[in-house]
Each structure stands twice: as structure tokens, then as C-alpha cells.
């Protein structure tokens, strides 16, 4: 208790002194409010730290057993007690990448349409519908994927891609319907509302003065969008893409329903695959011994780190872009 109040005093003096070290008077209510917010802030940090620690503890038996090989081998056979997570890391990264490839142009295009081109009467309903897409539970997307998207991909998209681009390793393989491509498409649909809604806010926050500046220099509408809107909003767009990507990396249910769940690494997007999230969801209930559970926790640990790395890279991109445009 004594040491606690000491810490409290230190914290208080950190907060309440100015450069000369003189104590500033703080109103009692302000002090209560300050500690309340501080407690919330520290609480979030503690929560995050305990999550990492817990995850690592749970995964420790598997990491102790298989070492770092766990993350760079792709044999996943619980029967034979062989565990390697590389196929799931591959599945998560590739399915999210396909999702971004499809979703980013569509989302940015939709946001540009809503802010720059759409007639007034269309803005509200289209904007509302886009946001509605984000409210649909992922299991519903999964059902829709199984009953509608997978047959559609099998009957139309895969034959077309296979016939046209079958010489590429990405488009070889059996037209099963379920697989990496279908999962990527489902993810694309699920992250589009997020990216669209945030990009729209980014474009809205760009002052009209910049648009008029571009028009006054003789820009066409498209040139104005390029010069004044896209270039100005690029860090905001990257931020929107990160949030979408975060959802794609962690999405579980819909992906588990359409990806085919096979722990294999294949270049073909037609082949069934599995992601880190989908394998945890699929196998957790059936895991029957300690090493099995620990391996799944280790997969969760890997998912956490892959998300962290990708987010860090994206933050770095934003930082680079922003430091280039601000003095």
C-alpha cells in the first residue's frame, strides 16, 4: 500500500509539474477523471500483454516439442502427432492477399463514386447498403458462399480462368468450387464495406478547396480526382486497407466454410487450403490431447504475429507517405 501511494505520487507529480518543476493546482474532479482515463489506458495495455503471455504459455508445450520447425514445416497430422503450421500461415496470407486484390480497387472506386461522382439522391441509399454489408454475420456469408458462390466459382469462374490462363500455375487444378479462390472472394466481399466506408470518410475530409484548385488549373474530373483526392488521401486509404486486412486475416467462420480445409501448400488458387483461423475453429472441439491443444494455441500465436508484422509494415507505409507530404 505504501509503495503504491508512492507510485501514485510520482505519477501525479509527472502529470502536474511544468518545466520548472512547480506544482500546478489540479481540480479534484479533473484528477479523478485523469486517473479514470489513465486506468482505462493502462488496462488496455495489461489486457494486451496478458493475452500474449497467455497465448505463449498455452503454446509452449508445442513450441518446446517441435521448436521453430513448427512454423516452417507444413505436415499437419494429429493422428501421427505431426504438427507444422506453415500451410495455415500460407493459407491466411494468400487468401487475404486475394481478398485485397479484389476488394481494394472495388472499395476505393465505390468510395470515389460516393464522394465525387454520385448524384445526391443516390449517395445516402448506396452508402447505407454498403455499410449494411458490414453488419451481416460471417456465418451467413459462409452459408451464402457454400450454396451460391462455390457452385458459381466452380461452374463459371474456374473454367474461364482455367481455359484462359491455365498455363499459369495459379489457375491449374480441379474445379472443386471450394478452395483458396472462393475464400478470397468471400473475404473480399466481407472487407469491402470496411474499406469503402473509411475511404469515403477520408475523401470527404479533403477540402473542396483542393478540388477547385485542381479544376482551376485545367484538370478534367478524373485528373482532379487523381491529383487532389487520391494523392492527398493515400495515407488514409492505406489505413482503411489495414483495417480491412485485419478483418481478412482473422476471419474464421466464413473462410472455414468455403476454403476446403486441407493443410497443403499449393500455388493453384483452385486447390482447397486452410487458414490459421479456420484450422483452430475446425479442430479445437476435437482436440483430445495436450500437444494437440498446444499446437492449436501455437497456430493462434502465429496468427497474432503475422497480423502484427503486416500491421507494422502498413503503419510504416503510412508514416513514409505522411512524412513525405508534411514539412
Amino acid at each position: 500500500m505504501d509503495s503504491f501511494s508512492k507510485i501514485q505520487m510520482t505519477v501525479l507529480s509527472m502529470f502536474s509539474t511544468n518545466g520548472r518543476g512547480r506544482r500546478r493546482e489540479i481540480h479534484f474532479a479533473d484528477r479523478v477523471f485523469y486517473y479514470l482515463l489513465k486506468a482505462i489506458g493502462v488496462g488496455i495495455l495489461l489486457l494486451c500483454a496478458s493475452l500474449i503471455i497467455f497465448l505463449y504459455k498455452a503454446a509452449e508445450p508445442a513450441i518446446a516439442e517441435f521448436g521453430w520447425d513448427f512454423f516452417i514445416t507444413n505436415e499437419w497430422d494429429p493422428e501421427a502427432q505431426e504438427y507444422g503450421a506453415l500451410a495455415f500461415i500460407w493459407g491466411t496470407v494468400v487468401s487475404s492477399f486475394i481478398a485485397l486484390l479484389i476488394s481494394v480497387p472495388v472499395s476505393v472506386g465505390a468510395a470515389l463514386f460516393l464522394t465525387e461522382l454520385s448524384p445526391k439522391w443516390l449517395k445516402a441509399p448506396v452508402g447505407f447498403l454498403v455499410e449494411m454489408l458490414a453488419a451481416i454475420p460471417s456465418v451467413v456469408y459462409g452459408l451464402w458462399g457454400i450454396f451460391l458462390l462455390a457452385p458459381f466459382v466452380r461452374d463459371y469462374i474456374q473454367p474461364i480462368l482455367g481455359n484462359g490462363f491455365g498455363f499459369l500455375p495459379f489457375f491449374q487444378g480441379p474445379p472443386l468450387g471450394v478452395g483458396m479462390l472462393t475464400a478470397g472472394i468471400i473475404l473480399a466481399i466481407m472487407i469491402t464495406p470496411t474499406i469503402t466506408a473509411i475511404s469515403r470518410e477520408v475523401f470527404r475530409s479533403i477540402p473542396d478547396l483542393l478540388r477547385e484548385g485542381a479544376l482551376a488549373l485545367g484538370a478534367t474530373r478524373w485528373e482532379m480526382i487523381k491529383v487532389a483526392v487520391l494523392k492527398t488521401g493515400v495515407s488514409g486509404i492505406v489505413g482503411a486497407v489495414i483495417l480491412g486486412l485485419g478483418r481478412a486475416l482473422g476471419e474464421t467462420m466464413a473462410v472455414a466454410m468455403v476454403i476446403g480445409n486441407r493443410a497443403e501448400i499449393s500455388l493453384s488458387v483452385f486447390e482447397p487450403a486452410a487458414t490459421m483461423a479456420s484450422v483452430i475453429a475446425n479442430e479445437y472441439a476435437e482436440a483430445n490431447d495436450d500437444i494437440d491443444l498446444a499446437s492449436l494455441a501455437a497456430v493462434g500465436f502465429a496468427l497474432f504475429f503475422v497480423s502484427l508484422i503486416i500491421n507494422t509494415i502498413a503503419r510504416f507505409i503510412i508514416w513514409r507517405v505522411e512524412s513525405k507530404s508534411k514539412g
Partner: protein
Amino acid sequence: MQVKTSKASKTTTAANSLESDNSESKTILTIRDLNAYFGDFHAVKNVNMDVDANEVVALIGPSGCGKSTYIRTLNRLHEEIDGATVSGEVVLNGENIYAGHADPVSIRTKVGMVFQKPNPFPSMTIFDNVVAGLKLAGIRKRSVLEETVERCLKQAALWDEVKDKLKEPGMSLSGGQQQRLCIARTLAVNPPVVLMDEPTSALDPISTSKIEELITELKTQVTVIIVTHNMQQASRISDRTAFFYLGELIEYDETKQIFMDPKEDRTERYISGRFG
């Protein structure tokens, strides 16, 4: 480049004739029965005005009298606002910019505009801001771009301050420098007419006087139409002054005439500060 020199020499002659005899100077803009609307709101009413080449025309009047709306019709920027419409004629060098076949994009390269607040493009360096209009016009040759940057920044009296940091972001400059950067950007596409919408209202007195000097110097090359709330500014820099009130052009005459002996009672009352 040859075209430019010949134009410059022609405008110099025009400037000389303006000084010697005003009645013989060349009319560059003829505005006839111009009306501008925001939806049902009639913001500019039946304006007729002639502007001579190489003169500075100041538009004065109380806030909301339609002067800004009016100059935005002169480069067809007004119609970019939802629900905004225009009727009437604006003839620039013999060509009606509101004719059915007229292309707003090419008109805006001939009628440049400087805005109330500086608006350099945040994603671009000082260099790229100046040549933004040239790049839009498809000019990419490095030597041309470099030559233009130096010429326009010198014209905008900014060269000495930024010549060593052309690669830095335009936003890193002070407000007054940003506004001169925007003037340089406008001049880079060689527009015969430059519109200025209260270009100094967001600036400190020193930046303001720099920009006023600049406008006086620019007169040899371009025609300037400037909206201002500052009566002293209008009397300092303009050759002719137009007084707007409630969307109408009340009086348009030599600046001296307007400030010394206006014909209209409303002009006199506004200038002497009795209303508005």
C-alpha cells in the same frame, strides 16, 4: 515558346497603350447579361462588364453580394457546385466560354484562379506544385519544367526564399509563401486572365503587401480580376473598380472615380463605411 514571346510582346504593347490612352486598349473580357444561381437563389443578377487586357479590376461590396460567385462564373467553376447554374455570355478574346461547344477544362487553363486560402497540393513538393498545371497539360520535358519553375517562382517573388528547397513539401511553407506558390502555380500555365478571390484575406500585412506588389508587376503580362474586402487594397492596386450590392453590379468605373466621386449614392455610402 515562340508563341509565348509574341504574346508577351503584344501584351507589353497593350500595356503601353493602356498607359497612354485608356480608350484604345484592347478588351479581353466582355460579360453580357450574366446571371448566376444556386438552385432558386439568384446570386448574380444581369451583370454587364468589359475588362481591358492588362488591367487590374477590383470587385468590392459587402459579404454575400455575389462578387465571389461572379468571378467563379468567369472560369466556369461556379457550375461545379451542386445545383449551381449560369446564364448569359462571357466572351474571352472573342470566344464565348458559355457557348455549347466550349470546353470548361481548356477555358480554365486560360483563366487562372487564386483562392481565398492558399491551397497547394499537400502530396506535392514545391517544384511539383508549380508545374502541376503543366503536367496536366501533358508537358513532361524536364528542361521546360525547370525553366517554368524558376520563371514563375521569380514572378511570384518566391524564388529567393525557396530555390534551395524545391524538393520540400509545399505545405512546409508559411501561409504567405503558400499563397505566392499558388500564384506561381497559376502563372505556370500562362493564362491571359487571372482571377483572385480575396487572395490576401488569410495573410499577415507583410505577405499582403508582397502580394499586392506582385499583382502590380503581373499587370504587364496578365489581366487580374480581384475580389477584395479591403478598400485600401482596391484603391492601391486596381485600375478599375466594380461595386457589387445584393448580386447587382451597381457601379463600374475608373478606381479614382469610384473612390473620389462615385456616381451612385450606394457606392459612396459603402466606400465611406456607412453601410455594408
